[in-house]
């Protein structure tokens, strides 16, 4: 009997150890590649044990520290504003929906819920944002489309309000003469720190990682966030290499100008590094948050 669970534990540790390694090792390769010299990458490929280390890729980044710094700034700005606004409007919409005494409560809940079932798709969304609201190449283009708020989060917060805040508490405050808005920010919000932290974390990650809005709504290089720079760089390299035969010498010169292979990895590194560094501190909440989301 004892033997069997020992065997089982041994299998578990082996399988999970391998899987965990598979989850970390690619990042190690990325980081090592960014510190490899261009010649050793050409000779041995991306490798865990490069023949020659070099800081050249990071020198190149330093040369462009103004653009990259700007991109970092935009990403941080969008992440902070996006998360804050998102938390505010999500909780403000979810709270009234959790009040069973409010008239038309079910209708409004359905209005939110329906957005989870059906959507207009990319083309109408793009046309409405660019033709009617004209958000192309503005910070709004990074902030608004798709990311700011979603039906799922609203229903999650609503469920939290419904299950964890006793209606008697609201009634008591009301009898004491507190208005609805005061009740919301003096009583409801302080009680909902756990759910707000979880949603805020997931929203912040979504904004930090977002490259899609940058790809669709931003063409001005001054407005690029860090993920957009990474995306556009791949596109440029593809464009030049696939057209190099037709364009001849000019394209060849342009390719030589392009960031070298190690620089690409270095930019990817500075794109993920903040997350990898911060992860040990928030991993507990992240793992917990996954199960909160799963239970409707």
């Amino acid at each position: 009997m004892l033997n069997e669970s020992k065997v089982m534990r041994w299998i578990s540790n082996t399988a999970l150890g391998l899987f965990a390694a598979a989850c970390i090792v690619p990042f190690a390769l990325l980081i090592i590649a960014s510190f490899s010299s261009e010649e050793s990458i050409v000779r041995q490929g991306y490798s865990f044990f490069p023949e020659q280390f070099s800081l050249k890729a990071y020198d190149y980044l330093w040369l462009h520290h103004l653009e990259l710094g700007r991109a970092y700034g935009i990403t941080i700005l969008i992440t902070v504003i996006g998360t804050a606004v998102s938390l505010a409007i999500t909780s403000m919409l979810a709270y009234p929906l959790s009040r069973k005494d409010m008239p038309m409560n079910r209708v409004w809940t359905f209005v939110v819920f329906f957005t989870m079932l059906f959507n207009g798709g990319l083309v109408p969304t793009y046309l409405i944002y660019t033709q009617i609201f004209d958000i192309k190449n503005t910070l709004f283009g990074l902030l608004l489309p798709g990311l700011l708020m979603n039906g799922f989060n609203i229903l999650l917060v609503r469920t939290f309000f419904l299950t964890s805040i006793p209606p008697a508490l609201i009634e008591a405050a009301s009898i004491d003469g507190a208005g609805e808005i005061k009740i919301f920010y003096r009583i409801i919000l302080p009680l909902s720190v756990p759910i707000m932290a979880t949603i805020g974390l997931f929203q912040a990650i979504a904004y930090w990682n977002d490259w899609f809005n940058g790809l669709i709504y931003i063409t001005d290089t001054k407005m690029f966030g860090i993920q957009t720079i990474l995306t556009k760089m791949v596109m440029d390299i593809q464009f030049l290499t696939s057209n190099s035969n037709a364009a001849g010498l000019n394209a060849g010169a342009a390719i030589a100008e392009l960031p070298s292979t190690s620089v690409r990895m270095a930019i990817a590194v500075i794109g993920v590094l903040p997350i990898l560094i911060a992860y040990p501190f928030f991993q507990k909440y992240f793992v917990k948050g996954i199960t909160i989301g799963a239970v409707k």
Binding site: S5, G45, G121, L122, V123, I154, E180, V234, T291
Partner: protein
Amino acid sequence: MRQLSYNVKNKKFKYLPLYLLMIPGLIYLLINNYLPMFGMFIAFKNINFTKGIFGSDWVGFQNFKYLFQTSDAFIITRNTILYNAAFIILGTIFAIAFAILLNEIKKKVLSRFYQSVIVLPHLISFVVIGYLAYAGLSLETGFMNKTILPFLGIDPISWYTEPKYWPFILTIIHLWKSIGFNCIIFLASIISIDTEYYEAATLDGASKWAQIRSITIPLITPVIVMLTLLGIGRIFYSDFGLFYQVPMNAGFISDTTSVIDTYVYKGLMVSGDMGMASAAGVYQSIVGFILVLGANLIVRKVSKDNALF
């Protein structure tokens, strides 16, 4: 009670502050979700920017006719459904297997460590994952071609021009990114199983395998059913990042890497074929909607508590 009777008149105003709270969120939903739904009419127009969205001519179902006359419509539908089917089946099997294994590890610190590490890929943007894949698969400098294949004595493979490898590559990357996340969900439901079942089974001499088969699996079946049906409801949608960033837009492999979402994107942003793109988008929205409703109907039949509505 007494209070209510003389407050009837004020009742209309009583809820006014609550409505005020709702306004910003509702405006956002209007702009971001509802206006695009009404905007779907553009699929029935021949969009001409000089005439504007509203001024363009109506063309009925012509855009759809063109779309379904091409072989693209079949290819993107097939790819979208087959990839999602593979993701649902393999993803569920692996996630459950890892959740069961993870549950066997009784050392809390170790278990926590595994949990944190295996959800790490879920946290990384697909841009960076595209770079990681490139580091592995690049023809001249990739880890596969330079280290692993030579070690196995196989000639280098030009991954980005060979369509036949991509179903495997994309499936592996998807699994790598998502298994940890789903594993945590299954683990939560396994942990909630009453330990008495296992104690009783152990007393009766049931083996671990027998316990997994006849206690763990049956008791987490509701979660499995729910997640699978939700997946089926979204089988017409795919993760744009996976299919856009990882294949790096390589033309040779589009037969096995293009899905409805990438097709709509390309029509809109690259080739400027607005008619086809919007027709494909409407096709996706409508069929997707029907599938969500259908999946939910089945969930309701199976277990009402797990239904979305």
